[in-house]
């Protein structure tokens, strides 16, 4: 037991014991619990929970209501799934929705998988001791505070048909005109978006993995080596299982972010297929307030998909990966 004081600090201790729900002498400690002892935790949590409940859950709940057709401002109070049906099955919107969903899944899963693999590889690269390691690690992290809007513009400067890469190719005699360069940004396969996300997220996941690797030291690997494990076996059976929790938690954040992000698709996407978030915002900006119902329906669908995919992923990884 950490707390030794006998008297004087009894009230604070009792409060703490009360919350710890320690069985011994429960009745006696309950008896001297003051108002503050009893309500201290709810009171401490209240400001943060107010933000979460009113702004976050409130916003979500009201949005869900609007998606069900509830808009008293324009005199609509009946509840229906009409907008969801219209988005998914009507001739007008079905293609926009399903193709948008396919593109969104492709871009977010693709970005996450590529980022996670490159993050692991680059973290292993930077983990070894070498001259200039500090500088390299610093430069590796330099893009972390760069917002996604800027990342998307940077990819545009690099990969557009008159961008730096195309110019480099032209200098080498590969292309004569910008139009000879392949369309890599504002393309219908989402390559530009994936490039942009990968550029941003590799150091992001990489820094998490690197921190785990550095705290591990080399003892485990030396042990495995002394037992005759080769380089590949050491990676597969020693390093990978140890960094997996960090790698997975970083990947979850990346997946959830890319699935619901707006800036990168808005700058680097095309009209068709269009990422779901961009479609939702366009519906929402429509001067006809009825279109908000469809916009909200799409953003509710996005939230539900992200939420359940992340939950499933966490459940799976908790079952298969050792947690620290």
């Amino acid at each position: 037991m950490k707390y030794h004081c006998q008297q004087g600090c009894g009230i604070a201790q009792a409060g703490r014991l009360g919350y710890y729900r320690v069985g011994i002498k429960r009745e006696r400690t309950e008896a001297i619990l003051t108002f503050w002892d009893r309500w201290r935790i709810p009171i401490m949590l209240a400001p943060t929970l107010a933000v979460i409940v009113f702004l976050f859950l409130g916003g979500l709940a009201y949005g869900a209501l609007v998606s069900l057709g509830w808009q008293p401002i324009i005199g609509r109070t009946e509840i229906s799934l009409r907008a969801y049906h219209s988005i998914m099955f009507s001739e007008q919107y079905a293609a926009v929705f399903w193709q948008g969903l396919a593109l969104t899944i492709w871009v977010s899963v693709g970005s996450t998988v590529i980022s996670a693999m490159l993050a692991l590889a680059t973290a292993l690269l930077l983990r070894r001791t070498f001259f200039g390691k500090r500088l390299a690690t610093f430069l590796y992290q330099l893009n972390l505070p760069v917002p996604h809007v800027v990342a998307a513009i940077g990819i545009l400067f690099l990969f557009s048909q008159s961008g730096l890469l195309s110019r480099t190719g032209a200098q080498l005699g590969l292309f004569d005109f910008p139009r000879d360069f392949p369309v890599l940004v504002k393309d219908k396969f989402g390559i530009g978006m994936i490039l942009s996300f990968v550029w941003k997220e590799v150091p992001f996941i990489g820094v998490i993995v690197l921190a785990v690797l550095q705290s591990l030291g080399v003892d485990y690997e030396d042990l495995a080596r002394s037992l005759g494990a080769n380089r590949w076996q050491r990676f597969l059976y020693v390093i990978l299982p140890l960094v997996m929790p960090g790698l997975l938690s970083g990947s979850i954040l990346v997946f959830a972010f890319t699935f619901g992000s707006y800036e990168v698709p808005a700058i680097l996407g095309v009209r068709f297929p269009r990422m779901l978030t961009v479609t939702a915002v366009r519906f929402f900006q429509n001067p006809d307030l009825n279109a908000r119902t469809e916009g909200m329906a799409i953003s509710v669908i996005i939230s539900i998909i992200v939420f359940f995919l992340v939950l499933g992923y966490m459940w799976l990884s908790r079952r298969t990966v050792r947690q620290d």
């Binding site: 400001p47 505070p145 032209a170 939702a280 939230s303």
Partner: protein
Amino acid sequence: MATHTASHDHSARQRLLRALHYAAVVLLIFLLLTPLIAFLFNAFSFRWFYPQLFPTELSLRAWQSIVAANSKVPEALWNSTILAVAVTFSSVVIGLPAARALGLYKFRGKRVIEFLIISPTIVPGIAVAMGLNINFIRWGLAGNLLGVGLVHLVPVMPYVVLTLAGVFANYDPDFEQQARSLGAGTLRTFWHVTLPAIFPGIVVASLFAYLISWSQYILTFLIGAGQVITMPVLLFSTASGSNNPLIAAMSLVFVAPSILILVLTARFLSGKSSAIGGFGQL
């Protein structure tokens, strides 16, 4: 492990591996830095014709238009700064007690509370902002800094609370008891005992609150309703045009404070901190 008895072949292989490793590191850093270099090229370029690799004519035009009298950049910088500072300060004040409760105590329903607090990191911001938009218009919170600042709290709170809760998990509240028994009041105890102990955590929490608010586009756009011009909002609308030097110069003005703040606070940061996730939200 290379020993002095290693064969010639062995050390040659080691040298080759080391050279390959260096080449890979240089390539990695080069790939990560080129987009940033592209901003420098564009920001000072003038009539940069294809297929010139480097701009042959340099110019400060973009920078002049940023400081020109009709430029919106100063207003946007001011709004972004006010927002980021206010959001940082209020998120720490709001989150500190909750972090203390989560870091120091066990209580019933704790896991549910923790899940609630981190859930904004998973659910996309557009769903929240769209739902709030109509009510914020009704309550007079749309189109002004107060409303936008309130919405910025949603993505910021999880990281502030998680970071500070991590600090409180390794904090011994007995020191406060000792200060009180020596006659210090609540405020003095907080100022002289609690605050110094949790200071590194507050720095990291503030760093992320600032970065997330500073970089926020879609929430500002949906709640600001075109009235609140921040740096990301201005940059986004400029980026839909084709004035590359201006887009690049504006981007540099936008990211410079973030990079500077990161460099200044880097020593408080570790990749193992739960706050590091905040970088994924920018």
